[in-house]
Amino acid sequence: MLAGIDYFIVIAYILGMLLLGLYFKKFVNSSEDYFLGGKSLPFWAIGMSIVVSDIGALDFVGVSGQAYRYGVSVGNFDWVGSVPAMILAAFIFIPYFWRGGMYTIPEYLGRRYNKSVRTIASVTWILFFALDLGVLFWASAVLLNVLMGWPIWISILSTAGVVGLYTYFGGITAVIMTDVVQMIIMFTGGFALVYLSLDAVGGWENMVEKISTMGPEYRSHFDIIQPSDTKSPFPWTGILFGLTFVMANAYMIGNQSIVQRCLTAKNEWHAKASMIFGSALKMFVPILVLFPGLMAVVVHPELADGDQALPMMIKSILPPGLVGLMFAAFFAGLMSSVDSLLNSTATLFTKDIYEPYIKQDATDKHYLKVGQITTLVLLVIGVITSPISSDFPGIYVAIQTFMSYFQGPLFAILLLGIFWKRTTQWGGLSALVIGIGFAIFLNVFKDQFFTIEDPFLYISWWSFLLAFIINIAVSFMTKKHSEESLKGLVFSSKILTQNKSL
């Protein structure tokens, strides 16, 4: 448990976040302000927010833990698993989403394919986000319980109260701007941790030498590329095909909570620059997250659970003040994940379900109110379902796995939708449905198809490939869309020349 100055910092940080979030209420006057920040935010704030939203607190701890267990190969997730995808998103996909004045990714799919594709994609995201909320509430409560000694229910309610209030009132502006603060603090504390950890292990070369002589299981700890028959979950084949080609792109291009941030940019230049700036920041993430995990192998070689590596390093290496600040940033990371889910789900529900199916042509104030009420309802669902996570420890992994199966087919239809005029509504719909079905099939019978324990990278690759082929085959058999209906929705070299004049 924390004590003294560190305890004070965590409390002050939580209260400060609440006040900061509430301050943004004055900038919310319409549904566009609530869901897209009035399309007025600068690239640097959005870029920072994308990085924070991506790494989150659970990933921070998890990646350090994997670096402790498997070594530097986990860094692939932040380098080849993010940077190329973010560049692709910035130059190809984001301009279409931004110019189209879209609020959601399913909205693009609806315009490019049909309403069914939009609804399936949206409902899947809503389900995933709603389930994830309970897990994140529980994780936040456990963190507060361990750090501050608060009872679990008090912890859940205080997290929900703080996050709920500022997301309800401040919308996405509050979500993005609280992320900016968190990123600055996480990076400052993170670099201090890396510097002090290196000092504690006697420098980089000394650490490499010590780890290399610790036993055969540590021999490949410094190999960024792992052989295809490795026991770790990161064989190079999975990294290249599953991660770099499919999951990274699907995440950066098809994830509502990431793309929605870019759509808040004040103009197209800022929208693209936010992704590029985010990718530059992403290059530093492995240094901050992975290195402490590696150094923990030397400082705390006896850890039973690798996920304890980062918290242990923070506690044993950082001085008072920074310990509190880093733990506060962790908690803020969890809050950031929760507020992203709340706002993105409210946007998906209002724009893709409520507006087309329940009440069309209502006033803007009405949709703003619907978005805010949806946020509150989700908050209540998250609080009620959070204890379920404690009964099923594998639920977080299961939800993430479920998401990875959806991403392959989703990326296949997004990719063909942008780059191939000939793809049709029936091609997209069948690819999405059959692709998801195939991913579920592979997961159920994974023991018969794959040799590694957790083949999520391979499953996303094969489901992507099948969805891609199905989309092409069905599109050739069905009636193509008219040129007029595809205007502004498919890639054209004109968009590059138009950009020069921006």
């Binding site: 003294g4 100055i5 004070f8 910092i9 002050a12 940080y13 400060g16 900061l20 301050y23 943004f24 900038f27 009035g38 007025s40 935010l41 600068p42 502006t173 701007m177 900016v180 603060v181 600055i184 603090i185 400052t188 504390g189 201090a192 510097y195 002090l196 000092d199 004040k266 950082l318 001085p319 008072p320 003040g321 920074l322 509190g324 600040l325």
Partner: protein, 77 residues
């Protein structure tokens, strides 16, 4: 520059000002936490990290206040 653009500039500056206040406050707290450190290296780490936060926060406040002043004057004209 029209009124809407000026309004957006002022809005962003107000947001940055609020962020700056938050960050500078925590920078000062981290510098204050030097009192509780035991070694010289710990002391210096708190000092450097705190100073980084104070400089970032201070810079944001300075820049945003200048922007607010400048655009409010333009608006009045």
């Amino acid at each position: 520059m029209n009124e809407v653009e000026i309004g957006a500039k002022i809005k962003n500056a107000q947001i940055n000002n609020a962020l700056g206040v938050f960050i500078i406050t925590f920078g000062i707290i981290v510098i204050f936490a030097m009192v509780y450190t035991e070694t010289f290296v710990q002391q210096m780490t708190d000092l450097v990290a705190g100073m980084v936060l104070v400089i970032i926060g201070g810079g944001m406040i300075w820049k945003s206040r200048r922007t607010i002043k400048k655009f409010k004057k333009t608006n009045e004209k």
